[in-house]
Each structure stands twice: as structure tokens, then as C-alpha cells.
């Protein structure tokens, strides 16, 4: 359904073009869930924005983003507006500021219906009420305003808005990061349930490995604008190949207590990326050749890794 091919994005910054995404490729089908994992600066949010066509003006984009065969990047803006909200829904990170403070939640959920299906106000409101109930806000009146809701509730509204037109793909960019821990699980469950139920594809973007392991079947790890490892979640988690993935795991507070191990060094500034493998300066296993060229994604089968010296090999 969705095929991203060699997506490369550069943004104008201070007179130059800074690469933020390089050669990102993956595919996602209906009923499939894929996770994009990385720290801030890895380019994961940029990938979502590029798919949605919401990059800042002046961005240079190459590659293709095929939605059921048609390249979204080649679409004129007017046609892209017809895709956003209708074929692809998006949930953003900050629920506290994602909603228009002046409109009722019912009106905001109804808005995509009025845009794409030209529904009358009454019809749209009725559908919106059903959607709000479906995301667990049945007890909250549709005439409420965002400032009267909690963060978790607002995020549910955002999810309802994203799903209103029954999209084929739902992109969720850090949907739970800004929420309390207790609420995070609820929202994640909601997302997977909804995805299952409607048969849509789910692209989940996060920096939290725990979220990934619970929710998605396939995972892509991103570092400095490139995909460094990808494969089925079970496979990747049990047999981590890329040193970055391994380091990321060790950096999590372990469930069994004990201390996380921080990854030495910092994520490189996009305008000053080192030649060759971007992770090499921080990698325990790096050799001289790692700084010479960017390792391609390689590996047999579905689990692939962009490293010349992957873990589990000598």
C-alpha cells in the first residue's frame, strides 16, 4: 500500500542545504504495523512529514512515496490535500497544543468529514460523536473545548480526527511521549485495536523501544537520517545486528533494575555529519574503513542491517 523508495530530504538552513534524510526505503501494507525508532535528530519525524507533504517550504525532496502506486511527492498540492486526512491520517506528539482552542472537540473531529465527504453539519456531528465514543471518550460531551480535557483525552480526540475518514494509513508520531506513563499504555492499546479493527496500516514513530516491542510487527531503526537496521520486531530484538541498536537497548533502564549504559558521544549535527557511517565515531566496533563509505543495508531475508561489522558476526 505504501512504498517509500530512497527518500532523501534536505532542508535550507543558514544558506545551505542540510541533509536530514538519506535513502530511506520501506514498505507498509494494510493490516501491517511498522515502527520507526530513533533518537531526536534521527529523521524519523521528517519521514512522516515527507510522506504527508508537510515539510517546511523550500525543502528539497527526492525519491518516491507511492501510495497504492501513485507517487505522493509528484502530486500537486490540491490533490495532496485530498489525500491528507482521507487516505492518510496523522497523530502528532503534543496533544496539549494539537487542537484548536477555539473550537469544540466535536467540530474538530467532524472537520475532516466535512472536508472530504462534504457531509452536512448534522451528519458530520453524528459521525463525530460515534468516533469519540469509539476512542473511549463517549462520556465526554462533543461540545467541550480542548482546554477542558486532559492530555490523554486530547490525544484521543486527535486519534478520532485522524481516523474520521477511514484512512488506509495512520501515522502516529510519538503519540504517547507527552503523556503520563499510566495513560501511555491505554493510548497505545487503542491505536493497535483501531488498526486491527479497520485493517489500516500503522506507522508508529517513537524513540521508546518498549512501545515498539508491544505494538508493531516490523521495526526500522534510524540514525542520522538513514535506516540502519530493519526487520520483524522479534527478529531484531532477539538478534540485534547493528551496534547502534545494541547500544540503544543497553541505554534503556533495564526492567530488572540496574543501571542503563549511556551511549558515549552525541548524535551528529545534520550539517556536520561525518563521512562514511554516521555512527562510527561512537561505535565500539568501528574500524578505519567505516569512515570511508556509508554501509548499505544488507542481509539475507527480512532482517537487514547497514553495518560492515554487525554484531553476531566477527
Amino acid at each position: 500500500m505504501l512504498e517509500v523508495q530512497d527518500l532523501t530530504v534536505a532542508l535550507p538552513m543558514g544558506g545551505r542545504f542540510v541533509p536530514v534524510l538519506a535513502g530511506v526505503s520501506f514498505a507498509l501494507d494494510r493490516r501491517q504495523s511498522v515502527g520507526l525508532v530513533g533518537e531526536s535528530g534521527s529523521g524519523k519525524s521528517m519521514t512522516a512529514l515527507a510522506i504527508m507533504g508537510l515539510l517546511p517550504p523550500g525543502a528539497r525532496v527526492t525519491g518516491r512515496v507511492l501510495l497504492d502506486g501513485s507517487d505522493l511527492l509528484a502530486l500537486p498540492e490540491r490533490d495532496m490535500c485530498a489525500v491528507r486526512g482521507r487516505r492518510i491520517g496523522m497523530v502528532f506528539q503534543e496533544p496539549m497544543t494539537a487542537l484548536n482552542p477555539l473550537q469544540t472537540i466535536g467540530a474538530q473531529v467532524a472537520e475532516p468529514l466535512r472536508i472530504h465527504f462534504s457531509q452536512s453539519r448534522a451528519e458530520a456531528d453524528a459521525t463525530a460523536a460515534r468516533l469519540l465514543a469509539r476512542v473511549g471518550l463517549g462520556a465526554v460531551s462533543a461540545h467541550r473545548y480542548p482546554h477542558q480535557l486532559s492530555g490523554g483525552q486530547r490525544q484521543r480526540v486527535v486519534i478520532a480526527m485522524a481516523l474520521a475518514c477511514g484512512p488506509d494509513l495512520l501515522i502516529a508520531d510519538e503519540p504517547t511521549t507527552a503523556l503520563d506513563v499510566s495513560v501511555q499504555a491505554q493510548v497505545l492499546d487503542l491505536l493497535s485495536d483501531l488498526a486491527e479493527e479497520s485493517g489500516m496500516g500503522l506507522l508508529l514513530i517513537t524513540h521508546d523501544l518498549g512501545v515498539i516491542s508491544q505494538t508493531v510487527r516490523e521495526v526500522l531503526l534510524m540514525y542520522a537520517g538513514r535506516v540502519v537496521e530493519q526487520g520483524p520486531t522479534d527478529s531484531v530484538f532477539s538478534a540485534m545486528a547493528h551496534p547502534y541498536t545494541h547500544a540503544l537497548f543497553r541505554a534503556r533502564p533495564p526492567d530488572s533494575g540496574g543501571r542503563p549504559v549511556a551511549i558515549p558521544g552525541l548524535v551528529p549535527d545534520p550539517s556536520h555529519r561525518p563521512p562514511g557511517c554516521a555512527f562510527a565515531p561512537r561505535c565500539e566496533r568501528a574500524q578505519a574503513v567505516c569512515a570511508e563509505r556509508v554501509p548499505p543495508l544488507a542481509g539475507a531475508g527480512q532482517h537487514r542491517c547497514a553495518c560492515l561489522y554487525p554484531m553476531g558476526a566477527s
Binding site: E77, R84, G85, M90, A98, P101, L102, M161
Partner: protein
């Protein structure tokens, strides 16, 4: 919502009362002897006493205040010392000039400023933005009475399209009256429009950067729809507040412009009354004008709360 309204109303009334007290104290109590103020120094004692008695100025201050207040509330504004006609009549005549002028100017100003401000914000950083804001920067610096003179120079002296001064009265016809108000309205409106455009631009730029605008785009709204349906309404509260302030200014602050165009408005009435030491007119008018400022502020608060539900909390 009701609690909010009641609280606002209470503040309104309290402020009005305080304003009336301040005016009374400043004009009648502080100068010591209002009669001396009216008649000027050098008046003879028996004349002063006669005037005091005639105008009820020999009563104690608090009593005079209450009488005055009572009069105001019942529509009896007293009688002008100079013209010996009810102040209410004078006010009514002048309001018929000042109010249309103010409305004319505020409509012009808003109709010009908001599209300009939104356009500049939407094309921020570009040539259109720089050009519009450059013009606005100069517009803000123009004194409105000088602009009035320039307009007279251009349209009355050179082109002779419009009258250079005076007001023929509405009896001479609606169009004749309006003609006399065009130049003063434009002189008042342009500098205000410049300020309003800058504020609108800043407010819209702020809201364009907000997350919910991105959400609107993600729902399928075009850039233009996201701008007008989501960003602009959120930018309106500071804009509406400013429009309210400008309107108050237009009602009460036009004394100079009225002098430029020789318009028989409220500003000139106060001005002449001050010169003629017609205290009762000055008192009444200042309270009326202060009252209208307070009232407009109240209305602006209501409008703001109707736009932005977050402002409806009782504490606000």
C-alpha cells in the same frame, strides 16, 4: 459564563463610579472654589456668592456630588453655564457628528488593516511583507492631524473634491454630511490601520506557528483554509482588543482633528467648554467619555470571551 458576565459587569459599574468621583473631585473639589474657576480671578465677592447660590455650589461637596450623579443617572445632565441650554441637548447634537465619524473611521481602519496584516503574515519574509510593513511603519508615525492637513491640501485645495472644513449638518442631506466626514475619517483611520495591521501580522504569525495549524493541514485543509479558518480566529483576541481601544480613542480623542476640520463634535465641545470655564459641560462630558471607554472595554471583553472559550472562566 454567567459568573464571568456578572463579575465583569460589577467591575464596569465600580469603575464608572470611581471615574465619576475622580472627575468631580478634580473639577469641583480640588480647585477650591468652582465659582472662582468659572468666573475667573478678579471676580467680586458678591458676584461669586450669587453664582455659587444660583448653581447650587454652596451645598457641601458630597451633596453636590450625589445630586450630580443622580442627575446623570436620570438623564438630567444639567444646564450649560455658557449657553444656558440643557447639556444633554448639546451632547446629542455633537454625538451625531462624533459617533458617525468614529464608526466610519473604525470600519475603514479595520477593513484595511486586517487583510493587510494577514497577507503580510502569510507571505512573511517576502517582498510583499516587507513592502506592506514598511508602509505601515511610516503610517504609524504620521500624526493624524498632519495627515488631515495633507488630505485637505490634496483633496480640498488642489482637487476641490471635498470640503476643507466644517460640517453642514445632517439636515443638509446624508451625502452632504458624509462628504464632510470623509477626509477626517481617513486621517483618523490610516495611522490606526497601520498600527492594527502590524499587530494583526504579529498575532497571525504567532498562531501560524502553532501546532493546531499543522493538525488542520494534516486533516486536508489547504494552506489558505488553514490560515483563515484556524490561524486567524486564534489571532483575533489581541486584534479585537486593540480595535476596541482604538474605537474608544476615536470617540474621545479627536479634539485635535475636530479642530483641523472645524467639526462640531464632542471633542470641540469639551475644548470650548474648557476655554469658557463651563464646568458642568466639562464634567459631564469627561464622565460620559470615560464611561464610553469603560463600556467599550466591557464589550470587547465580551466579544473576546465569545471568540475564545478559555476566557469564559469566572476568574478571568
Amino acid at each position: 459564563m454567567l459568573a464571568f458576565l456578572l463579575r465583569r459587569l460589577a467591575i464596569l459599574l465600580a469603575t464608572l463610579l470611581a471615574a465619576s468621583l475622580v472627575v468631580f473631585v478634580v473639577l469641583q473639589v480640588l480647585p477650591g472654589d468652582p465659582a472662582a474657576l468659572i468666573l475667573g480671578t478678579g471676580a467680586r465677592e458678591d458676584t461669586l456668592a450669587a453664582v455659587r447660590h444660583q448653581l447650587g455650589l454652596d451645598a457641601p461637596a458630597w451633596l453636590r456630588y450625589l445630586r450630580w450623579l443622580g442627575g446623570l443617572l436620570s438623564g438630567n445632565f444639567g444646564t450649560s453655564y455658557t449657553y444656558h441650554v440643557p447639556v444633554a441637548d448639546l451632547v446629542r447634537q455633537r454625538v451625531l457628528v462624533s459617533l458617525p465619524l468614529a464608526l466610519f473611521a473604525i470600519v475603514l481602519s479595520t477593513a484595511l488593516a486586517i487583510p493587510v496584516g494577514v497577507a503580510a503574515a502569510a507571505r512573511r519574509g517576502g517582498a510583499v511583507d516587507a513592502g506592506l510593513m514598511g508602509v505601515a511603519q511610516v503610517g504609524v508615525a504620521l500624526p493624524n492631524f498632519w495627515l488631515g492637513l495633507l488630505l485637505i491640501l490634496a483633496f480640498a485645495v488642489h482637487l476641490a473634491w471635498l470640503p476643507a472644513s466644517g460640517f453642514p449638518g445632517w439636515d443638509a442631506g446624508v451625502w452632504a454630511g458624509c462628504r464632510a466626514l470623509i477626509l477626517p475619517a481617513v486621517a483618523l483611520a490610516l495611522p490606526q490601520a497601520a498600527i492594527l495591521a502590524r499587530v494583526t501580522r504579529a498575532a497571525v504569525i504567532d498562531t501560524l506557528g502553532e501546532d493546531f495549524v499543522r493538525t488542520a493541514r494534516a486533516k486536508g485543509r489547504s494552506r489558505r483554509a488553514a490560515l483563515w479558518r484556524h490561524a486567524v480566529p486564534n489571532a483575533l483576541v489581541p486584534v479585537v482588543t486593540l480595535i476596541g481601544l482604538q474605537f474608544s480613542f476615536l470617540l474621545a480623542g479627536t479634539v485635535i482633528i475636530e479642530n483641523v476640520f472645524t467639526l462640531p463634535g464632542l471633542g470641540r465641545l469639551v475644548f470650548q467648554a474648557i476655554a469658557q470655564r463651563d464646568l458642568i459641560v466639562v464634567q459631564d462630558l469627561v464622565v460620559l467619555l470615560a464611561g464610553s471607554v469603560i463600556l467599550v472595554n466591557f464589550l470587547v471583553d465580551l466579544v473576546a470571551a465569545s471568540i475564545d472559550p478559555r476566557l469564559r472562566r469566572a476568574g478571568g
